[in-house]
C-alpha cells in the first residue's frame, strides 16, 4: 500500500509541480470571468446575445427548443426575447438573418459561427476580447481591439459599456455602471459556454446515477474478489 502511495505521489508531483512550472505561459494575459454557471446566468446571456450578437453571428448547431427543454425557459419568453422575426420555426437552428454574400461585402469575411467559440478560444479569451475594444478612427469601422488587433467587428456593446480610446480614457460613459456591464459580458460568456456544449445539463443529471451504479458494482465486485482470494495463500 505504501508503495502505491509513493507511486501516486510521484505521478501527481510530476503532473502538477514538475515540468509545467519550469516554463511560463506563452499566450497573452487574459482576464477571467467570475460567475455561477446556472440557468439564470445562461438565460440572461441568451437574451443579450439575441439582442446584440445574433444579427450577425449564427450559433448554427443550437436550436431554439434547447432553451426550453434544457434551461426551462418558457416558450413565450423565447418567442418574445430570443426569436428574431426571421420566420424561423421553434425547432430550427439559431442562425443569423444576415445573407452570407452581403456579409462578405460588408466585412470582407462573414462573421464566424459562434457555436463552438468557447471550446475553440476559451471563456477567458471571449471575456477579455469583449472588454478590449477601443475607438480607433484609422479603422474603417472606427473600432479596434487590444486582444485581436484590426478585427472587423465593431464594439457592439459600446452603448452599455461606454467608449474608451487606445489608452483607456473614457470618451463616453455607457448606460450601465462598469460592474453591471462586466456582469452582462459574463452572462454572454456563460451563454456561449452553454452553446458550446448543451449536453452539460443531461450529463450533470445522469452523472450521479451512472457513477452511483458503478460504485455499487465496484463494492460488490470487491467483496466477491475478497471472498475468492481467501483461498489463495
Amino acid at each position: 500500500m505504501k508503495k502505491y502511495v509513493i507511486w501516486a505521489g510521484m505521478t501527481l508531483g510530476l503532473l502538477t509541480g514538475g515540468a509545467p512550472a519550469v516554463f511560463a505561459d506563452n499566450g497573452p494575459q487574459l482576464l477571467t470571468p467570475h460567475y455561477t454557471y446556472n440557468a439564470k446566468t445562461i438565460i440572461s446571456g441568451a437574451r443579450l446575445f439575441a439582442t446584440n450578437c445574433m444579427a450577425c453571428h449564427s450559433i448554427k448547431f443550437m436550436r431554439y427548443e434547447f432553451l426550453t427543454n434544457d434551461l426551462g425557459m418558457s416558450k413565450t419568453d423565447v418567442h418574445k426575447y430570443i426569436m428574431l422575426p426571421t420566420g424561423s420555426a421553434f425547432k430550427n437552428n439559431m442562425t443569423s438573418a444576415m445573407p452570407t454574400d452581403m456579409a462578405h461585402k460588408w466585412f470582407g469575411l462573414p462573421p464566424p459561427d459562434l457555436s463552438q467559440i468557447v471550446r475553440y478560444k476559451s471563456q477567458d479569451w471571449i471575456y477579455t476580447y469583449l472588454l478590449s475594444f477601443y475607438r480607433d478612427p484609422k479603422r474603417p469601422s472606427g473600432w479596434n481591439n487590444h486582444l485581436f488587433p484590426n478585427v472587423a467587428m465593431p464594439d457592439v456593446l459600446a452603448p452599455y459599456g461606454g467608449i474608451v480610446n487606445e489608452r483607456g480614457q473614457v470618451l463616453r460613459a455607457g448606460d450601465e455602471p462598469p460592474p453591471k456591464f462586466k456582469e452582462q459580458v459574463t452572462d454572454i460568456v456563460a451563454f456561449l459556454r452553454f452553446v458550446s456544449d448543451p449536453s452539460v445539463v443531461q450529463r450533470h443529471d445522469d452523472g450521479p446515477w451512472v457513477l452511483g451504479l458503478l460504485v455499487f458494482f465496484t463494492i460488490a465486485a470487491y467483496f466477491l474478489k475478497k471472498e475468492y482470494w481467501k483461498e489463495v495463500k
Binding site: 448547431f61 456544449d197 458503478l214 465496484t218 489463495v232
Partner: protein
C-alpha cells in the same frame, strides 16, 4: 445423451476455455499494474461500441464531416455520450498502453521467453497510433486538416517515391474528401482488424509461455505434485473476479471524465478540434495529441526535417530490440537498482517530452527537447552495457506474496 454432451463433443469452446481461462495458471503476486492488460481489452470493446454508434451518423465528405460530427453532439439522442466515450476512450487507452508497457519494462516481461509477446504487443501500440491518427482526421476540424497535412507530408521524405506515396495516402495533392474516405476505410476496417488480430496473437503467445510477475522469476520452475506451478493460480476465477473489480474502478474514472470533464482541460479534446477545416487558415502551431507528442518533440528537436524524421523513426523502433539489449540474467528491476533508476528517469523524461511536444515551437524549449531526445536514446544505448555489469541482488526462489 444430454444436450451438453452432444454440444461438448462438437465444440472447441470448452477446451479453449480450459486452456485460456480455467486452467491457465498465472502467478499469484500480480500487483496493481497488471490491471492494465484486461482494462485495455475492455476499452477496445467500448471503443468498438461507441465507434459503431458514431459511425452510424458520420458523413465522410469534406462538406459534411464536421457538421455531421457536431450533429451527433447536438441533435442525436445521447450523441454526446457516444462522442465523448469515443474521444476520451482514446486517451484512456493510451494511458493504459503506457502503464502496460512501463510495467513490462519494470519487471522484465519482454525478456526470454517472452520476446514475441513484447514485439507483438509493441506492434499493437503502433497500430493504435495509426488508428488514433486516422480517427482524429475524420471530424475534419482545422486540427484534423493540418495534422493530417503534416503527418502525411512525412511520407515525402521517403527517397525517390516519396511524392507518389504522399499522393496515394492523401488520395490527391492535398487533404480532401477523398482523404476522409480512405482514412475512414482504414480506421474502421483494416487498422481496426489488425489491432484485433494482434491482440489475439498477443494473448496466444503469452499463454504459450506463461505470464511474468513482479519478481521476474519463472513460476513453472517450482511445480507441485499435481503438475501445476505452486505459485500459480487459475486465471478463472481468481483473476477474472479481480479484473471485474478493476473494471469497476476504471469505469468510475472513465464515467467521471465523460460526465464532468469531457475535454479534460482540452488535453483529451483539443481546442482546435472545435473549428472547421480551413485550408486558408493554417494553425499557428500544429501539435499532436498528448500520446504522440513525445515523439513529435524529438522530431522537432533537430532543425533538419529529414534528420528529425530519422530520429523519430529510430525512437519509435528502438523498443523492438529491447529484449536483446538487456543482457542481465536477472529480469525484474526489483533486484536491479541501477536499471530501475534508469527506467524511472526514462519514464519521467517521456512525460517531459510529452509536455514539450505540446508547446509552441519557441527557442526556449529547444534545449530541453534535445536533452529529452538524448536521454531517450541514451537509455537504449546504455542498457546493454549497464545490464551486463550492474550489481544485482539475488531474486528469491519463490514469488513474494502476502495473502490478502
Amino acid at each position: 445423451m444430454s444436450f451438453k454432451d452432444w454440444f461438448v463433443k462438437r465444440s472447441p469452446l470448452p477446451e479453449m476455455w480450459r486452456e485460456h481461462m480455467a486452467e491457465y495458471y498465472a502467478p499469484k503476486n500480480f500487483n496493481i499494474f497488471y490491471y492494465a492488460g484486461s482494462l485495455l481489452l475492455l476499452m477496445v470493446v467500448l471503443q468498438f461500441l461507441s465507434g459503431f454508434l458514431v459511425l452510424a451518423h458520420y458523413i465522410p465528405t469534406a462538406r459534411g464531416a464536421y457538421d455531421s460530427v457536431y450533429g451527433i453532439m447536438y441533435d442525436v439522442h445521447y450523441g454526446w455520450l457516444m462522442q465523448y466515450m469515443h474521444v476520451d476512450g482514446v486517451s484512456l487507452i493510451f494511458v493504459l498502453l503506457y502503464v502496460h508497457m512501463a510495467r513490462g519494462m519494470l519487471y522484465g516481461s519482454y525478456r526470454s521467453p517472452r520476446e514475441i509477446v513484447w514485439i507483438v504487443g509493441y506492434t499493437t501500440y503502433l497500430a493504435f497510433m495509426a488508428e488514433a491518427f486516422f480517427g482524429y482526421v475524420l471530424p475534419y476540424s482545422n486540427l484534423s486538416y493540418w495534422a493530417g497535412t503534416v503527418i502525411t507530408s512525412l511520407f515525402k521524405s521517403i527517397p525517390f517515391i516519396g511524392g507518389w506515396v504522399t499522393t496515394l495516402v492523401r488520395g490527391g495533392p492535398g487533404m480532401s474528401g477523398d482523404t476522409l474516405n480512405r482514412f475512414m476505410a482504414l480506421h474502421v476496417t483494416l487498422v481496426f482488424m489488425i489491432i484485433v488480430g494482434l491482440i489475439v496473437l498477443h494473448i496466444l503467445y503469452l499463454h504459450k509461455v506463461g505470464s511474468n510477475n513482479p519478481d521476474g522469476i519463472e513460476i513453472k520452475a517450482s511445480k507441485g505434485p499435481d503438475g501445476h506451478p505452486v505459485d500459480g493460480i487459475p486465471f478463472h476465477p481468481y483473476y477474472s473476479v479481480k479484473d471485474l473489480f478493476g473494471f469497476g474502478v476504471w469505469l468510475i474514472i472513465f464515467g467521471a471524465i465523460i460526465f464532468y470533464a469531457p475535454t479534460f482541460h482540452h488535453i483529451f479534446l483539443e481546442r482546435t478540434m472545435s473549428t472547421p477545416a480551413n485550408p486558408l487558415k493554417s494553425l499557428p502551431d500544429v501539435t499532436p495529441p498528448w500520446y504522440l507528442s513525445p515523439f513529435y518533440a524529438m522530431l522537432r528537436s533537430i532543425p533538419n526535417k529529414n534528420a528529425g524524421i530519422i530520429l523519430m523513426v529510430v525512437a519509435v523502433l528502438f523498443p523492438f530490440v529491447l529484449p536483446w539489449l538487456d543482457r542481465n540474467p536477472v529480469k525484474s528491476t526489483r533486484y536491479r537498482p541501477i536499471t530501475r533508476i534508469m527506467l524511472l528517469i526514462f519514464f519521467i523524461n517521456f512525460f517531459v517530452l510529452a509536455y514539450l511536444g505540446e508547446q509552441p515551437p519557441l527557442p526556449k524549449y529547444f534545449f530541453a527537447e534535445r536533452l529529452g531526445a538524448f536521454i531517450y536514446v541514451a537509455f537504449f544505448v546504455l542498457l546493454p552495457f549497464v545490464s551486463k555489469f550492474e550489481p544485482t541482488r539475488a531474486p528469491p526462489a519463490r514469488v513474494r506474496f502476502r495473502a490478502h
